[in-house]
Symmetry: C2
Subunit: 202 residues, 2 copies
């Protein structure tokens, strides 16, 4: 194993996934501020990995710069919201490619609070459950609309062929999530219409 | 607001969701060991919330017992794997119902490492991407098979009407996840068949 491979292996262990997400946003080639990175994360990463908080983005930028994976310069004075501009370095591109090649792909993490609440439906009431699932249905529809809009933008630029592909995937994901909420609402209605199991047969 | 409400509000802030998951597993009425709880979590909670580690389950059991929400007794000597048996108390049922009624329902947390890797496809190679998505497709199919088996068991017992409903939801979720992986494989194949954008027109 070359010393370069050893370096990658150490990074894979030492950097959190959020650092790779931030470096990934920079890998599309633009010079971005923390504020820009947050905006881009909201328009892309949010649909499949959640969106890192502003404070997390700044923490990772400091770490990436210390590591030599990003460099920054003060923003020109006419752009007051963009205090510093960051870009990826060749070493950063190399490290990110190494992470993609060598880090084990973890199984998706799913923590579905709505499903958890219906699973405990025996301690809740039908109206609350219905409202919870209905609100989730609306959330899924909103995510679908927003990822569709992001996909339409990404499709205009060949640099974003893979993001556009994942946004199509995200459209399927959030449409399925909405449809599964509809099916769950139908199942809830059926369960609540059933006569009690102990009702006397005439 | 009654003092009972104030108590719930304090719990909602102080107990992590994993504590409510463990209490939720006990709320179906069985007396269970830590080992049993882990087994039940693997057969139900895993499909929509991940499965807490053994160490987490024991930590939450100690906390729930200290809180008066669960009580335990030593397991009979003929059951050496079940060192202590836990059951929920009326106060525990009350607290769990209070949490369901009052805690805000958080949006689902999704961290999809496979989508993240395809999103960064410009730094990867087609064969690696294809293999990553294919492995995920197999994982989704396995989850679908396992949640279907769990649903078939849950449907035999009316106590588990809501878990059975969420397992049907889980079947839809994991079938959609598998189908979205298939569609992504097709999109990847199309992108890689395209001639380079700069190819000369004859």
């Amino acid at each position: 194993m070359s010393s370069r491979h050893i370096q990658y292996a150490a990074d894979v262990e030492s950097l959190p996934t959020t650092a790779w997400v931030v470096l990934g946003l920079l890998s599309f080639g633009r010079e971005l501020s923390g504020y820009d990175l947050r905006k881009w994360a909201e328009a892309s990463v949010r649909f499949f990995y959640g969106s890192p908080a502003m404070s997390q983005i700044y923490r990772e930028l400091r770490r990436l710069e210390a590591q030599g994976y990003a460099v920054s310069r003060p923003a020109p004075p006419e752009e007051p919201r963009r205090k510093r501009l960051y870009r990826i370095t060749p070493a950063g591109l190399d490290a990110l490619a190494g992470w993609l090649r060598e880090a084990p792909v973890e199984a998706p993490v799913l923590k579905h609070g709505v499903a958890l609440r219906v699973w405990l439906g025996h301690l809740s009431d039908p109206a609350t459950l219905r409202r919870t699932v209905l609100e989730h249905r609306e959330f899924a529809q909103r995510m679908l609309d927003e990822v569709s809009a992001a996909r339409a933008v990404a499709e205009h630029d060949p640099t974003w062929a893979y993001p556009a592909m994942i946004e199509r995937w995200g459209e399927r994901y959030w449409a399925a999530e909405r449809d599964a909420a509809d099916a769950l609402l139908a199942d809830l209605a059926t369960l609540n219409q059933q006569p009690p199991a102990t009702s006397p047969v005439p």
